[in-house]
Point group: C2
Chain length 343, copies 2
C-alpha cells in the first residue's frame, strides 16, 4: 500500500489537506500517511526550514502531499529556495504538471470562452533554467552594483521534459504540443529547446506541434485559451503561463499541480497552486478543490488512474452544482467530494 | 523643426506608418521625415540588416517612427537582435514604454472589466536583463549540450528606469507604481531591483507603491487590470506583461510602444506592438490605430504634449464611433484621425 508524506504547512494548508486526505481515503482505503511539520510556523519556532534528516525521511515515501507554506513575515526566498525548490531539485522533479480546465459551473473572467472549452495542461520544466540558483552580485549596495541570474539548460534536462509532454499528448484526444520559449531573443537556450523539440516530435508523427514565443503565448492564453492542449516550456515561462492559465479558468483557487519525477526514483510532490491565504485561515471557508485535484494527480502518478478519475469527476460534479453566492464550508465540500468519489 | 527617421518596414508596416505620418503632419506641420529601407525585404535583397552607416544617420534624428519588420522566412533572431534590439541598445533606449487602455467602444475579452476602467502604463527596462545577449552553448548538438542565458542587471540601469517610472506616476492621477519581479527565486537581481525601488520610492512620498511577483502580476492583469497605474519591471517580464495588458485591452492591434532615451542623447523609437501581419499586407485593411498612438508617444517625447493629446483624443473618438462588423479601410481611418486631431 502506498506510503505518502503529508506536509500540511501554514494558513489554510492544514484545512484543505485534511479534505484531500479524506478523499484519498474514500477512493483508496489503507494509504499510509505520515505528517511532517514544515513551513513558516516551524521556521519561526526553530529556525529550521528542511533538516537533512527530514529530507531523508521524505525520500522514503511514494509521494508527498503538500498544502501551502509561507506567511508574509518570512523573508522572500527562505521557504521558496529552502523548501519548495529544494524538494523539486533534490527529488529531481523535472516535470512540473499544471492542468487547467474551465469547469462547467465556474465563471471565468473571459467573455469569449464557454465552460468546457478550455482543457489544457502545462508541462513546465522543474529542475533547470533560471531556477538553478546560478547568479550573484558584486559591489552590493553601491552605485556600482551588478547582479546576475543565469539560466542553465541541458540537452538532458530539456529533452526529458519534452519527452514527457509528448507522451502525455499522445494519450489525450487532441494530441497537440505547443512549445513556448523566446527563441528570437534567448537564442542559445532557445535553439537547444527548439532542436530537442524537433527531435522528439520526429518520434511522434501522430502528435501535432506548434511553437510560440512566450509573449505571444501569454496573449493567446487570454484571447484563445481553447487552442492549447499540452504546452511544454521552461521553468520560469511555465511559472508565469500557468498563473495566466489558472486566471482564465477561474483562479488559482482551483488550480492543482504536481512536481513529478516520472521514473519514480524519488517521490513526486502534489500541491494546490494557491498559497497559505493567512487572511482566511482557520475559518473553515477555504475551497479545498485545488488540494483535492492535486490528490487526484497524486493518485494518477501512483498508478491509480481509476481512483484519480473518480476524484476528478467528483470535483466536476461539485463545481457544476455550486450556486454563486452560497458560502462554502471547507469540511462540507470535503465530505461531499469524498462521498461522490467513493460512489 | 523636428527631424524624424521613418522605418516603414515590411508587411503592413508601410500602410500604417503612412497614416501615422498623415496624423503627425496634421497636428505639427513641417516635421521633416526621412525614409530608411530596413527590415526583411532589405535583408532578403542585400543580406544587410543595419549597416553602420545607416545607424550613424539614424543617430542624427530626433526620433524614429517604425512600422513593423519581419516576415516568416527570416530566421528567428536576425532582425530582432540585428535591428530592433540593436537600436534599443545602441541608442540607450532604457525606457520601454507601453500604455494600455481599454477604450470606450472596444470590446475586450474580459467579462469583468468595463471600457474606461483600465488605464495603465508599463515601464519596461530596455537595455539590460536577459536581453543583454550574454550566454552561450557548449557541446552544441550533442547529448552533452549545455546552453546558458544570463540576466545582467546594474544599479545604474535599474535605478534610472525606476526613476522614470516614478516621474511618470507623479504626473498621473492615481500616482501608484507597482514593481514586478521574482524576488523569491531570482534573489540577486530581485534584491537589486527591490532596493533600488525602495530608494527611489523614498524620494516620492506622494506616490503609492506595491510589489508583486511576476506570476501574480500576470494573473492580476487578467482578473483585475483596473488595479494598475504604472508598472515598472525588467526587460523580459515587461515583454510578457505588456502582451497580457494588450490582450485584455483589445489586442496588440491597438497597442503602441516607445523605446525611449529620456535624456535625448540618442533618438527614441516609436512603433506599434503588432507585427508585419503578412497575411493582410497590401490590402488596405490594417488598423493604423496602434501606429497613430505610437506617433502620439513620439510627439509627447519631442515636447509636443498638446499635439500628442489631440492625437490620442482623436483615437478615442474614432474607436468610440466604430461599429462592430463594419470593415475598416486603413486610409480612411488615417484621414479621419488626421481631420479629428487637426480640428
Ligand atoms: C513559490 C515559488 C518558488 C513557486 C515557483 O516560482 O515555482 C510558485 O510560484 C509556483 O509556481 O509553484
Ligand atoms: C521582437 C522582439 C525582440 C521584441 C521583444 O522581445 O522585446 C518584441 O516582442 C517586443 O515586445 O517589442
Amino acid at each position: 500500500m502506498a506510503r505518502i508524506a503529508v506536509v500540511a504547512g501554514d494558513g489554510i494548508g492544514p484545512e484543505v489537506v485534511a479534505q484531500a486526505r479524506k478523499v484519498i481515503d474514500a477512493v483508496l482505503p489503507g494509504v499510509e500517511a505520515t505528517e511532517y511539520d514544515l513551513g513558516a510556523a516551524r521556521w519561526h519556532r526553530t529556525g529550521e526550514v528542511l533538516p537533512d534528516s527530514v529530507l531523508a525521511e521524505l525520500a522514503g515515501h511514494d509521494a508527498i502531499l503538500l498544502g501551502a507554506v509561507g506567511d508574509p513575515t518570512v523573508p522572500p526566498g527562505v521557504l521558496e529556495r529552502g523548501l519548495l525548490l529544494k524538494l523539486r531539485f533534490a527529488f529531481d522533479q523535472y516535470v512540473n504538471l499544471r492542468p487547467s480546465r474551465l469547469w462547467p459551473g465556474v465563471a471565468g473572467p473571459l467573455a469569449t470562452v464557454k465552460p468546457g472549452e478550455v482543457d489544457l495542461v502545462v508541462v513546465r520544466e522543474g529542475t533547470e533554467g533560471l531556477y538553478a540558483g546560478a547568479g550573484g552580485a558584486l559591489h552590493r549596495g553601491t552605485p556600482a552594483e551588478v547582479a546576475t541570474e543565469e539560466s542553465l539548460n541541458t540537452r538532458h534536462g530539456v529533452e526529458r521534459v519534452i519527452r514527457d509532454a509528448f507522451a502525455r499528448a499522445a494519450r489525450r484526444e487532441r494530441r497537440k504540443v505547443t512549445l513556448v520559449h523566446k527563441t528570437n531573443v534567448l537564442t542559445h537556450a532557445g535553439s537547444l529547446w527548439a532542436r530537442a523539440f524537433e527531435a522528439v516530435a520526429a518520434e511522434h508523427p501522430d502528435v501535432t506541434t506548434e511553437y510560440q514565443h512566450v509573449d505571444a503565448a501569454a496573449m493567446f492564453l487570454v484571447t484563445q485559451p481553447q487552442r492549447y492542449d499540452v504546452v511544454v516550456t521552461d521553468n520560469l515561462f511555465g511559472d508565469i503561463l500557468t498563473d495566466i492559465a489558472a486566471a482564465v479558468t477561474g483562479g488559482i483557487g482551483l488550480a492543482a499541480s504536481g512536481s513529478i519525477n516520472p521514473e519514480g526514483a524519488y517521490p513526486s510532490m502534489f500541491e494546490p497552486v494557491h498559497g497559505s491565504a493567512p487572511d482566511i485561515a482557520g475559518r473553515g471557508v477555504a475551497d479545498p478543490v485545488a488540494a483535492v485535484l492535486s490528490a487526484a494527480l497524486l493518485l494518477d502518478q501512483l498508478g491509480h488512474a481509476d481512483a484519480a478519475a473518480r476524484v476528478t469527476a467528483a470535483v466536476g460534479a461539485e463545481l457544476a452544482a455550486r450556486s454563486a453566492g452560497v458560502p462554502l464550508r471547507t469540511e462540507e465540500v470535503g465530505d461531499r467530494l469524498a462521498a461522490l468519489a467513493a460512489s
